[in-house]
Symmetry: C2
Subunit: 351 residues, 2 copies
DNA sequence: CTGAAAGCGCTTACAG
DNA sequence: CTGAAAGCGCTTACAG
């Protein structure tokens, strides 16, 4: 039971394979009698014919394959959402995603072999994703096809890149707190030298400036972004500076802050408001009260990257890679139940 | 700057393309002078030649592509781990994974189009994964190539399938509790009609029997496996039956149970031991105390499926799909800090 | 309006 | 030990 080929369709319709190809592909500038067209289409359908994409690829030098190289596919749902965004966009263009999950670490050399494997597969383009927003050095062979970076920028700045707007996300979070009336807002930051750390701090300071509240170093702390450390840091800052709200570097840290609050008998959000970052659903939605946080646009980055690569493929002759514009995608605030006005601002109307 | 082809290598080495093909592929039963071989290899290396896999695929009728159809890629890290397991096994065999994320739901008809797209791509085999362990109806065109089911079994039982050993996982969890001395162990179950629900209950009962403790319906409750409901259910059972330990259907439910315990001023694990299921790292490792739970073997299911499909491909002539054996993969217990002996069993040695 | 033929880059009997 | 040639299933100038 081998599957039907174009020759079978031609035979059945009583035409040449040339004609079959033309009608099935709707080749422009080709006159084929309408009657012939429908004969061909019927034959194709009744044979369940689908063109062999491998043969097409060899002939047209377009494989319709897009390579996605992603670090750390397994650890968080983040990579999954990038994949989903890219995959759905790919499907809309008749493209197929081929995935290779690279070793962790920015070993450009290590990734070179993965890129080569993709290149041998004749992928039309490559999406290169890291597990969190950072600057990387690219494997040199990545220049063989159009490529875009996801959640990363390259140190040489040669490739279009799509990254989350860390500053904007932090602004949304802190402004949300400020609008609720908070002025003593602590920031529990991470201490890595990554864009998220700097960007979120910048957003925090920007909102402070907007509201004319002076930056107070005692309200800001740094630690590795893990829950136990988040707990320690939250306890320390809560004890030291009595903030009415906490802006946490990420949801895991917020989880630690929840515990610190509970230990100090601070109710959330009545006594203390908390905003996180990342929108890790499984944490944010399941914490009690559910955590208001900022979402990272992984799905959107995946689809943006795919769409961009499609444009590059269409317009490849006219521009070189670095002339393509990069994107800063918004990090929307996801409102749940962890924010309320501070005690002193609370209107005296009982709920 | 087009990439080198086999012809370029042949020219450079001063041999025919036939010879190049033979030495690079190490075709068995082919005598080629060692001196010629090294000339060819040097030429290939200096040109950076890698065979065009598309052309190879067309010629050999083996694409080296394995399709992975997965529902719900984005929601949990589960799919990511399946992908990773399959991808790493694929790489070891020189195979490449192509991913399509299917619509949620078991619409065999909807998935048929996705399978067809994979088939048009000439994938050698298909891995068909669902987002959680369940029984499904297969799209009819899935029989065109070797296929294996991941985390699912098909109602017709035609395909090899790899699923987690739900019973065994529950046994490990409950036995762990029993070994610590617990006898009043509550089970907070899910109320869906899925294998996990039935399997985990069976495992629970099995351990009870082992320890000669009679099954007590009052210690078992069902709810949808979400945190708020888990909280309600835990509170109810804790109040009603005073268990010394809780076995939770999954980690999210355990998260609700933690809150119930806190509200009742029950310390974990001193006053109450809790075991979860799923090992959702981000919850289990970040809860306080860290949650002892049972891991689902997603990575292992991915690699098992890939390896099986490779065997089917190698031995395809001799057996039909349904003669291949399915697998029940172990769900190992991951010990963290949420289990201790019950009060009455505690040795009087202070820690 | 339709078709014969070349060729994409390989592999593989087959011949020598 | 090595090579000439056919062919995988398509698309695409080109001719008629």
């Amino acid at each position: 039971m081998k599957t039907a080929g174009i020759r079978d369709v031609a035979k059945m319709a009583g035409v040449s394979v040339t004609t079959v190809s033309h009608v099935l592909n709707e080749t422009p500038h080709t006159r084929v009698a309408e009657e012939t067209r429908s004969r061909v289409r019927e034959a194709a359908k009744s044979l369940g014919y689908g063109p062999n994409r491998v043969a097409q690829a060899l002939r047209t030098r377009r494989s319709g394959l897009i390579g996605l190289l992603s670090e750390e596919i397994a650890t968080t749902p983040h990579a999954g959402r990038i994949i989903l965004g890219a995959q759905e966009a790919a499907r809309a263009h008749g493209l197929t995603l081929v995935i290779v999950s690279a070793e962790r670490g920015d070993g450009a050399a290590a990734h070179q072999a993965d890129v080569q494997a993709l290149l041998d597969r004749q992928v039309d383009a490559i999406l290169y994703a890291t597990m969190y927003h950072r600057r990387i050095t690219l494997p040199p062979n990545l220049d063989a096809v159009p490529a875009v970076l996801i959640d990363a920028t390259d140190t040489a700045g040669m490739l279009p890149a799509v990254v989350p707007d860390e500053v904007g996300g932090a602004v949304a979070a802190v402004r949300h707190l400020a609008e609720a009336g908070h002025r003593r807002i602590a920031f529990l930051n991470n201490n890595d030298d990554v864009p998220a750390t700097h960007g979120r701090l910048a957003g925090y300071r920007q909102v402070l400036a907007e509201y004319d509240v002076p930056y107070d170093g005692k309200l800001v702390g740094e630690t590795v972004s893990e829950t136990p450390e988040g707990y320690e840091l939250a306890k320390e800052i809560l004890a030291r500076s009595a903030p009415t709200a906490l802006f946490c570097y990420n949801d895991r840290m917020a989880m630690g802050a929840y515990r610190a609050a509970a230990e100090l008998s601070l109710r959330i959000p009545e006594d203390l408001s908390i905003v996180g970052f990342d929108n890790q659903e499984i944490i944010a939605a399941n914490l009690f009260p559910a955590l208001t946080t900022v979402a990272l646009p992984h799905y959107e980055m995946g689809s943006w990257a795919l769409e961009t690569v499609v444009e590059m493929l269409a317009d490849g002759e006219n521009r070189s890679d670095h002339e393509w514009v990069s994107a800063l995608l918004p990090c929307p605030l996801v409102t749940r139940d962890s924010v309320a006005p501070p005690r002193e601002f609370r209107p005296s109307v009982p709920t």
